[in-house]
Symmetry: C2
Subunit: 473 residues, 2 copies
């Protein structure tokens, strides 16, 4: 890839030209949506080794789109799935923005819970349903579409835009993380823009300045050499499924407080200002509970729901497996039992330190007669961004214009493991502009993206390039 | 079915004729084993609704064999799988013995752990490996073969023998239990003989006078309406897999003592005589631990391993299922989590009473923010038999002659739910003559039956009919 000839410095569009650009996006909604649906039909499940071809096809789809729009595009091989790096022509004296996103998706199971197929994108009641609709194909495509439109309308962009679209976000971005220092020159930028999060609420867009980190593990408890008859052997040996339940139960008390010694030592407390601002957000525990289908919310005592989701670390069991899971009764003592578990971390918790604490905790809480193994899958620290920047100001204005509402500044509970690495490797600012909604069923059956928010996102993005040029220029 | 003409009273065989009968069994070992292998090739998994045809084929196999030997045979339909009832001619003034067994087998999963296929019976190092080899096709067939041989050798049996071979033992014998009162006339007998248990140890045959009861359940904990992203929602809602672990952990303390209020109220304590006799049995915890592949045994404190297995009630988790179980990471809060659990009960615990206690216990130990449902699968009380009977004496002599060692009197930890029902409905004695070994992998991969014990069992059975006639006659 060699960047196109450097453009002469070009200023932002005047209001009339920008309005015309936005109108053209408005009148072209069907084609913009068809584009997304085409991408969503490719089941690019990065964790599924049987899907290598489909993952590659989703990569080729986005590199082809960027290439046809006139960007310089490179597909970079990794030890896993490839990544796409693209850029518009450099603009002298203007900032460089890097848009990061991912073309890979989560597994779609349980398949039977999807109303329409996970890879058969379908619009119902103003929502587009498909795996990856909001996480992240639909969201990252808003920025690709806005850049394509600027270029196809014959406008030189008033800044340089780079894209980095990877294929391993859903499996921990380990290869990108490893290669990032070597890619630092290629990706050099003043600000990273990421749309892989949510608005605060329906009708209330948000700029996210904090993300939680993550650490995932698989704990396997081994008991007898093989499944045993629970009649002949029940009472003689420790049941590894009981041992697993005991070990997992020991992790958190009845008040939702995690019991691993040292777990909270590095947790940064919420500031009084954050707690005050967040309590002013329109928020109802009852409505939240109803939206996720529970009668009652639950979490660490002493914190509001948003505080617990955004700024407090958690422990979750993501999966349990042991013994007989099929039809009918099978009265065995299973040979082993295992759990997939994960933690959401906040700045400054360290996933590597947690692994040590966790091993110590399980060692101190192992029932007699079993052994266990803890496999570390991946980890990433949390992130807290500076929001007093011209990029944040530009985003605030662009979103206000496109959504008709000023965004609020919030944190999010999810993790985008690579964000902290960008800050470290590229020394850049970071803008998290979520176009999704909290009930988009990310990682779940019936994942969706509101069609209107897809188009608003494209328009906010088209405006953002202009606003950044104005604010920074 | 109409019983054959009543034989004139015939006494037991003299020693020479009996020796000749036993010799003929010895010289015919290959054919006797081939017969069993043919039956074992039929995958008669009663809990698997896709196996209806195979279950029926296993039923037909045994009814055909009994019919060809000259018994009166009837196949009796049930709401589930059919049962076979057969009988030899009545013998005036002589006792009637009912042999009970089952032609259905447990599921074979995990299939990948079998060295040879579960339904491809294979002899290795003196053992016949197949699902059902010892539980119960191999064991019940010993009695069928002995009766066939008496008849084919031209001897009238010195007592009447009835067979009841059912197809639902592994799913709780509910239909047989329901129909038993109506079948009481047809099955009327002085003693039930069942071979569906084990010798005490290699080289030490046993007569079992106690069995544990059983109660099985499935507990399902429901959380959010669907799987949630553990980043966006972690900290906001109770994780149902954590709730399940907490509820299951609450069932048993670190000393192996079950915590359900009232659970031990009806448990009959061991007699001093039992405790003394059992402690004299050749027993090594270290060897036992090694044989099942654990470093350390575990169970209710204050009892020996045999006491815990045979005479103390237990709680086991038979299976756990929740969330993501496939390859890789999926960071969700699962919508639900479930466990298959079972209890082994001792006389006089009542499975119905336990269901109430269990519901109360879970109600008192439900974490906030989840609901649960407890499905009752099946239950049966435990059994304690009188061993001061002529039938027990006859069995002792027959086993001593066939195995070369006097049997010891023990209890077993497993359950044969129908045994208590026979005692109630038929008012008969009960003989549990186990030809298996404790490491036969019952209900597990690589289930086996020692070929030598199959043949010893046939010979002990052939001798038993003669000894009963002597003892009772």
């Amino acid at each position: 890839m060699s960047p196109s000839r450097e453009n002469a410095a070009t200023g932002p569009l005047d209001d009339a030209s920008l309005d015309q650009l936005i109108e053209s996006l408005d009148s072209d909604r069907k084609a913009l949506l068809d584009d997304l649906m085409e991408w969503l039909r490719i089941p690019s499940i990065s964790s599924d080794s049987r899907r290598l071809g489909e993952v590659r096809a989703a990569c080729d789809w986005v590199s082809g789109k960027l290439q046809r729009a006139g960007l310089s595009v490179e597909t970079i091989a990794t030890a896993g799935h490839p990544m796409v790096v693209a850029q518009t022509a450099p603009v002298e004296g203007a900032p460089v923005v890097l848009v990061y996103g991912h073309y890979d998706v989560q597994p779609a199971e349980p398949l039977e819970d999807w109303i329409s197929g996970p890879f058969e994108p379908t619009v119902r009641e103003g929502n587009l349903f498909a795996r990856g609709a909001t996480d992240d194909k639909g969201q990252v495509l808003t920025h690709i579409q806005s850049v394509c439109r600027w270029l196809s309308a014959g406008h030189a962009l008033p800044l340089q835009i780079k894209f980095l679209i990877e294929g391993e976000e859903e499996v921990g971005s380990e290869n990108l993380e490893r290669m990032l220092p070597d890619l630092a020159d290629k990706l050099a930028c003043d600000c990273v823009v990421i749309s892989d999060s949510s608005q605060y609420a329906d009708g209330q867009p948000a700029i996210t300045y904090g993300l939680r980190g993550i650490a995932t593990y698989e704990l396997t408890v081994d008991g007898p050499g093989q499944d045993l008859h629970s009649g002949s052997f029940g009472g003689a040996v420790m049941n590894p499924a009981i041992a697993l339940c005991k070990m997992l139960s020991s992790m958190v008390d009845e008040n939702g407080v995690i019991q691993i010694p040292g777990y909270y030592d590095r947790v940064q407390p919420l500031t009084d200002q954050e707690r005050r601002q967040w309590r002013e957000l329109p928020q109802s525990d009852a409505a939240f509970a109803e939206s996720v289908g529970v009668k009652q919310l639950f979490g660490e005592q002493g914190y509001t729901t948003d505080e617990r989701r955004w700024a407090r670390p958690t422990f979750d069991i993501n999966g349990l497996t042991s013994g007989h899971q099929g039809e009918g009764v099978k009265t065995i003592i299973p040979a082993k039992a295992s759990a997939k578990i994960s933690f959401r971390l906040v700045a400054d918790q360290d996933p590597k330190e947690l692994t040590g604490q966790l091993n110590d905790h399980f060692s101190a809480n192992t029932p007699p007669g079993v052994t266990w193994e803890l496999e570390t899958d991946h980890g990433a620290p949390g992130m807290l961004a500076n929001i007093d920047t011209p990029f944040a100001k530009a985003a605030e204005l662009a979103i206000d214009a496109a959504f008709g509402t000023k965004p609020v500044f919030i944190r999010e509970g999810g993790s985008i493991p690579i964000v902290t690495r960008f800050q470290e490797a590229l020394g850049c600012d970071c803008l998290l502009l979520g176009w999704g909604l909290s009930d988009d069923n990310t990682h779940s059956p019936n994942e969706k993206f509101r069609v209107q928010d897809y188009h608003r996102g494209i328009q906010a993005s088209a405006r953002l390039w202009n606003e950044i040029a104005k604010q920074v220029g």
